[in-house]
């Protein structure tokens, strides 16, 4: 039995806390490159109040949504809040989930934090939620994320052509998936 289900080598996953986390997350929205990597929507500057309201809606105690599992990512070294990640199960009967992940501060990009967080989330999905597959999509221009997902075992399953418009150019949206057996095959035996 793994006691530290939500703990990795560099990060841990934690419950979002509207009281303490909103300001940090709102600050990330000021980085428009971060926004362009994460969201298809119009980049908007967000206030701490708006982010707090979002967190309350998604993660609030009074109306837990059974099928959405939102987390914040904290660096183990000093417990700093460095990102967020979530799992969405559309229908339990399908036994698959969509994953989203974002690392906010640039200082933490390309240093393995995202990959570590993804590994923790995958372990949670396959051993705790008993899912059969995970799905995610990534913008074709987000090479850093694509490399990270490939490293954790996701396979490219195709691309929606010209799905995104940025400026005058169009980009594909890449779809990736990993099956339970594939994840099992990759795990070190001492996990």
């Amino acid at each position: 039995m793994n006691d530290a289900l939500l703990q990795g080598a560099l990060v841990r996953l934690a419950a979002p806390n509207p009281e303490t986390d909103a300001e940090t997350i709102a600050a990330w929205s000021r980085d428009s490159e971060f926004q362009h990597l994460l969201e298809t929507g119009v980049p908007r500057l967000r206030t701490a109040g708006a982010v707090k309201a979002d967190i309350v809606e998604i993660a609030g105690d009074d109306k837990p949504r059974e099928q959405v599992f939102p987390f914040v990512i904290r660096a183990l070294a000093d417990d700093q809040l460095i990102g967020f990640t979530d799992l969405e199960v559309n229908h339990w009967s399908q036994r698959n989930a969509w994953i989203g992940i974002g690392i906010g501060p640039r200082a933490f990009w390309s240093k393995g934090y995202g990959t570590d967080a993804m590994r923790v989330l995958m372990r949670f999905a396959f051993t705790e939620l008993n899912l059969e597959r995970l799905t995610l999509n990534v913008f074709a221009y987000n090479e850093r994320a694509l490399r990270s997902y490939l490293k954790t075992g996701f396979q490219v399953e195709g691309r929606q052509r010209e799905r995104l418009r940025r400026g005058s150019r169009r980009y594909d949206m890449i779809f990736m998936g990993i099956l339970r057996d594939e994840w099992h095959g990759r795990r070190p035996l001492t996990c």
Partner: protein, 185 residues
């Protein structure tokens, strides 16, 4: 693949309609024996208005699948049955069933409805296990559940109090492998 999931040999399962069914549900609630067998709440007759709201509320719940039971012959509304996904991650479901009028008891409708519901539970909701609870004294229902493939799993002793005595509740269950074995799937 597309065999009709909701149709059995004697009955079919259909959507509940809050407005249309309320009067029938209210009428059944006046049969106190039916009320006492269906659940452990104190038997009380309810109005159609109560049932209209009750049905509407249940229909909103994403992890609940309530159905009416209609006879294939004559398309008569004779009861209700439902399955609740009580743990999505573990694939655990809970069923309940009630046939409203005594004239329809003991005619195989309940067993058939349950078999249709189990097909839905295992082939569409992909559950691993389905369980139910019923009063130990409800021997007619227990036989019906056994015919549908349920196994007696345990007894909750002296769970409910009626007529000055406490009664046991039995828990019964069926696993997906057992269902597939029984149905040769």
């Amino acid at each position: 693949m597309l065999s009709d999931l909701l149709r059995g040999r004697l009955v079919r399962l259909a959507a509940q309609d809050a407005e249309r069914d309320a009067a029938t549900l209210a009428r059944w609630s006046w049969d106190s024996e039916f009320q006492r067998l269906i659940d452990s709440d104190a038997a009380r007759p309810q109005t159609a208005k109560f049932y209209a709201a009750d049905v509407a509320r249940r229909a909103e719940r994403e992890n609940g699948f309530p159905f009416n039971i209609h006879t294939l012959d004559g398309d008569r509304l004779i009861g209700f049955t439902s399955i609740w996904v009580i743990n999505g991650a573990s694939g655990e479901g809970r069923v309940g069933i009630g046939i409203g009028e005594r004239a329809n008891w003991g005619r195989g409708y309940g067993t058939d409805a349950l078999q249709v519901l189990l097909g839905y539970a295992f082939a569409e909701l992909n559950l691993a296990r389905v369980s139910l609870e019923t009063f130990a004294e409800n021997t007619r229902a227990i036989r019906s559940y056994q015919k549908a493939g349920f196994t007696l799993e345990g007894v909750q002793r002296e769970w409910a109090r009626r007529d000055g005595r406490r009664g046991d509740v039995v828990v019964m269950s069926i696993l997906q492998e057992e269902y597939r074995h029984d149905e040769n799937i």
